[in-house]
């Protein structure tokens, strides 16, 4: 059973509380009646089925009830990121780059605590996946 971080509740909850809502970032046209047959086909019928990273919708149906979006790896089921509905689609390359920095050592069992896909077990994904915070210049040297 997966742990999924609800971006509204701001905590990880067991998969039992959630329901998958299919692919994310498929916007319904504001003038849908004018859509061409091809555009409507793409909108309603065509879905990605990647072996790898997918952007998908989830609903915290037995929790706050909110729909949100997630970036999940379909091979490992690892959630790279979850974010609120309406927020822009994160840049996949940036996400992957952020994760590659943290790829675990190849060495047997010699995995730093804060690195590697395994580390997401007990750390909120937003803390795993964001790049190291840039030094905040406004704080000065003190």
């Amino acid at each position: 059973m997966l742990l999924i971080r609800c971006p509204y509740c701001e905590e990880e909850r067991p998969e039992l509380e959630f329901r998958n809502g299919g692919q994310a970032h498929i916007a319904r046209s504001t003038d849908i009646v004018q859509e061409s047959a091809e555009a409507f086909e793409r909108f309603f019928f065509i879905r990605d089925n990647p072996k790898g990273v997918i952007f998908e919708r989830w609903r915290h149906i037995h929790g706050c009830g909110r729909f949100f979006n997630a970036v999940r790896d379909t091979i490992t089921d690892k959630f790279h990121h979850t974010y609120k509905a309406g927020e822009p689609q994160p840049d996949l390359n940036e996400l992957i780059a952020a994760n590659e920095d943290r790829r675990m050592d190849e060495g047997r069992g010699d995995m730093p605590a804060d690195q590697g896909p395994g580390s997401w077990a007990n750390v909120p994904p937003d803390q795993i996946n964001v790049a190291e915070p840039a030094a905040d210049a406004s704080k000065g040297d003190a």
Binding site: L3, M104, A113, A121
Partner: protein
Amino acid sequence: MAEPASFRVSGKGRLGSKGANFTFDGASYQGVEGDTLASALLANGVHLVGRSFKYHRPRGILSAGAEEPNALVNIERDPSRKVPNVRATVQEIYPGLKAVSQNRWPSLAYDVGEVNNIASPMFSAGFYYKTFMWPKKAWEKFYEPKIRAAAGLGVAPDLPDPDHYSQRFAHCDVLVLGGGAAGIAAATAAAESGARVILCDEQADLGGALRFEAGAMVENKPAWDWAQEAIAKLAANDRVRVLPRTTAFGYYAQNFVALAERVTDHLASPNPGLPRERLWQVRAGRVVIATGAIERHMVFADNDRPGIMLASAARTYLNHYGVSVGRKVGVFTANDSAYQAAIDLKKAGTEIAAIVDIRPASEGDAVQQARALGIEVLSGHAVVKTGGRLRVSSMAVRSVNVGAERVIPVDALLMSAGWTPSVHLFSQSRGRVAFDEASQRFLPGTYAQACVSVGASNGTDRLEATLEEAYAAGEKAAKETTGGTKSAARPAGVSGEAFAGGMLGTTPGAENGTTVAAFVDFQNDVTAKDIRLAVREGMHSIEHVKRFTTNGMATDQGKTSNMHGLAIAAEVLGKDIPSVGLTTFRAPYTPVTFGTIVGHAKGELFDPTRRTPIHPWAEAQGAAFEDVGQWKRAWYFPRAGEDMHRAVDRECKTVRETAGLFDASTLGKIEVVGPDAAKFMEILYTNPWEKLEVGRCRYGIMLREDGFIYDDGVVGRLASDRFHVTTTTGGAPRVMNHMEDYLQTEFPDLKVWLTSITEQWAVIAVQGPNSRKIIEPLVEGIDISDAAMPHMSVREGRICGVPTRLFRMSFTGERGFEVNVPADYGQAVWEALWAEGQKYGACAYGTESMHVLRAEKGYIIVGQETDGTVSPYDAGLDWAIGKKKRDFVGIRGLKRSDLVADGRKQLVGLRTKNPRTVLEEGAQIVANPREPVPMTMLGHVTSSYWSENCGHSIALALLQNGRKRMGQTLWVPMPDGAIEVEVTGTVFFDPEGGRLNG
């Protein structure tokens, strides 16, 4: 035949002296409390315990643990507790235990099925695939039942399982899988470093390999004693949970690990309050995998006779259970660990016939120790065959190169081809194993989760190194999860054994080109030559070899056989092992009962049952109920002497003649509230809503984006910003989800709030010409005259002194009301209405009559007349689509070329030529019943009933170009002849609709 319990070695073993009598195949034996069935049988000199799966060869006890492929028995506690395929090496005995051997007839010693062994050349790899391909019918009728009868293992119990099983969720900082030296060390270190720890082990006694490694020392005392003290300390720590008899069988994402705890199978008379087994679903911050290693057998001719077993198993039986596995024991090995077994047995007084070592002569410690005890060591030799039928009686030995065979009498033969690290759970965690060339074994390579392997499962051989590795891992895991900084003190005075050497594949005498029966997989009866044959026949992937030969596919999942099978395939393929690959390790690690997986979710607790507030009244009236989703709904209310048809006929007549009461509480209800409520309704339903007056109702159609009908229901406008929406009974949750989806993700700017009110309101439909008279005396504050409250209107007021949302609406075609009252008052109001209704001879009617009455009027039921491919046009509901609307869900889908094309199936009525014939729902409709099969099918019947009100049967159907076929004669072919029907409109009763208005 059974000898007395004379194989117990006094002064050996760690069991007490408390006896426990048990039976095996009807014979009584004495064991000792703490024995497994295997150790107790061996103590009695019994090696023959089963017959093999395919060839029915006599089989004994191979191992002393969970990897056992041979010693599978039936444990019969009572008639409803007969458990098949129990590993005798795992089952602990208790006084009165009754074990029965499997897969033999008429007896274990004389098994008719043994003829399969003589015919074994027939049963080569892929035999089933190749032999039983033709004719197809013979497979179903003849081959399969015969094969299943002949090649079964245990017999499944035929009574319901009387036991109960529990399930628990648990969380911990550090979960340690395996309670050997490594696991105990890791758990101790983690606990001392401040972590919450769970330690589980599949055995009754924790200690792992220390059960047999008698020479190992920790803190200058026997390692077993150190281990027991450490476990006692862990068990006393309230931050630690120690789970013996608990197998970690599945490792899932995010360190979610499933454990099966066997709670009562070892008890003579378990407390009935205890579950038989308990499923632990553990979420761990870190997992330490300390699952040890499993010894492999040697692959040589006739290596499966009873009495031939793993060296470590014999050593376990001696050092832990105090049992010698024979009087004159041979050893065949490619590994030093078998020497330790021979040495321990020799010291305990058992004669060692010879140690046959396939490796060249050496003067290593093990060899020297053996020689010093006077044991003959035959280096560079191999066992090339064995003798004996129900028990091994000899081994034939020769030099690995060439030379004469020397036959040495033995009554047991120990073997060791080396150790296979148990990477199953690591692999299940999606870690990738890597092949270590130097030691010729797969070891944990790339990790995918927050876990770490230690000890033998990580390829760490020496006890000193194992303990250091495990302490470090436990400490690190604790620090990572708790943020603590405490360190654990390491034990001193550690010395142990390290087992060097080993081999994969066949031994001389069973090499490529030979045809001997050298077993690789005992449980599935797969030999080395089967694997070679599979490769020669074109199976070049190890996954194909596995499926073609069934190597490793039995319930033991090839714990002893996978590496040998891989090596044999690699040899024939001329490839190295890593490039042939390893088959996938899958959960469960060992078999898990269905009971454990199911837990309490069975019978009444399988799924929730929903009952309406009026349910008790209907029950008291003797109503028959039907399941509608999770709901129990009153189906019909039979009076004395009535069957269902008579009851339904009476109910239908009564509703139209006077009135009837119907419990519609299960109807889905959603309140749509907010300044933009009407705007939102415009989007979700095809109908126009902005102009619907407050106090009026409308029948709404909800589509999916593709234009097909998704749900329907009557919607009342209670205020300009408040709609009371009803949905189908089954559709309520998905309609709510659908609405939330559009509100949250497509139209988040709309100021609307959605509330499910299904269970807040009980709904009593009062239908029929006298309905108004029935409710009139009970309603307060609402003018219910036709002028003030016409058909399709809604008012708020009071009934019987409680608030009501009173709908004037009808699903029967009669004047009707639906009385919504708070659920708590549902039954009281129903009873008041019932009392009034009695004055007019009203009846209570159930869902069956509701279906008939609505079909008489041609009202559709979503899910019956529709199946997800029916548009409103198809259903004749064009009128419900707001023609001037610029947007609603499905507006574009409705314009799709296929949805507006000619030839779609449309809803029509059907009348049978013989008015008494009632069509079968789902039956197909054709134009020419004499057309050869397959006929051209024009459509199908969606609803069909006898209508007492019409005096003839009625049916609704979806029919190609149906509305253009009015009056046509068509046919419904049935097995006993085609039924003639006429296409009609969908309204069979009161087509003008005058009765709605009274």
